[in-house]
Amino acid sequence: MTPEELQSLNASKIVDARGTACPGPLLEAKKAIGTINSGDTMEVLSADEGTKVDIPKWCTKQGHEYLGTLNESGYYRIFLKKK
């Protein structure tokens, strides 16, 4: 998705993992994905540099659709759609 589309996306679930370092954000995403329905979107907030690599790879492996990442001041907003 384009940055503009991501900006206007209202995710079904927002996971704020900015208080944790790797592997915290990945585990928070893993736990949260079980609480949403197939086809729902999720946004993961992380201040950890590694997360913007980890989450897309995790999506590929798990079959979820990685939608894109927005680079905010001091953190990332990472979007995905549950398979």
């Binding site: 208080g19 592997p23 915290g24 736990k31 995790w58 798990q62």
Partner: protein, 141 residues
């Protein structure tokens, strides 16, 4: 589809390497892997009920003179202890922790109850070999 299997031979009783094992375990849990952990020699001491994640009772495998700094940094970064990593992974995916019978005896542990509640059973090395043969990923830490 069958879950991928990770077999971890956990030898270390050092807080830095146990933490690394916990981080890897978290990655396996996030990917729904089936995990078998074999607690060998030094690691069995860390699994004793009176040790666990009491960092004062664990050494550092590398840069031992920087242990205090290392632990403070982990705390500041809100990183879990090794026991917390293991416990969380067990809550997320299928993790079985097997304590080597000999290793337990070396450190005065004869029964499962002598170890922290993460341990599932006490086993022999034959079980490890079988698990390692079947695993997709094998690690020795």
């Amino acid at each position: 589809m069958e879950p991928k299997k990770l077999c971890l031979a956990l030898y270390t009783g050092s807080v830095d390497k146990l933490t690394a094992a916990g981080i890897i375990l978290s990655g396996a849990a996030a990917n729904d892997m089936q995990v078998d952990i074999y607690v060998l020699l030094q690691a069995a001491r860390a699994f004793r009920k009176d040790i666990g994640d009491d960092a004062n009772k664990l050494n550092m495998a590398e840069n031992p003179d920087l242990k205090k700094e290392f632990l403070e940094s982990l705390k500041n970064l809100n990183v879990k202890t090794w026991v917390e990593f293991f416990r969380e992974a067990k809550a997320i995916t299928n993790v079985k922790i097997h304590v080597c019978g000999l290793a337990g005896k070396v450190w005065g542990g004869e029964k499962l109850d002598d170890f922290i509640d993460l341990a599932d059973d006490i086993c022999g090395i034959g079980a490890y070999i079988q698990s390692a043969e079947e695993a997709d990923i094998n690690l020795f830490i």
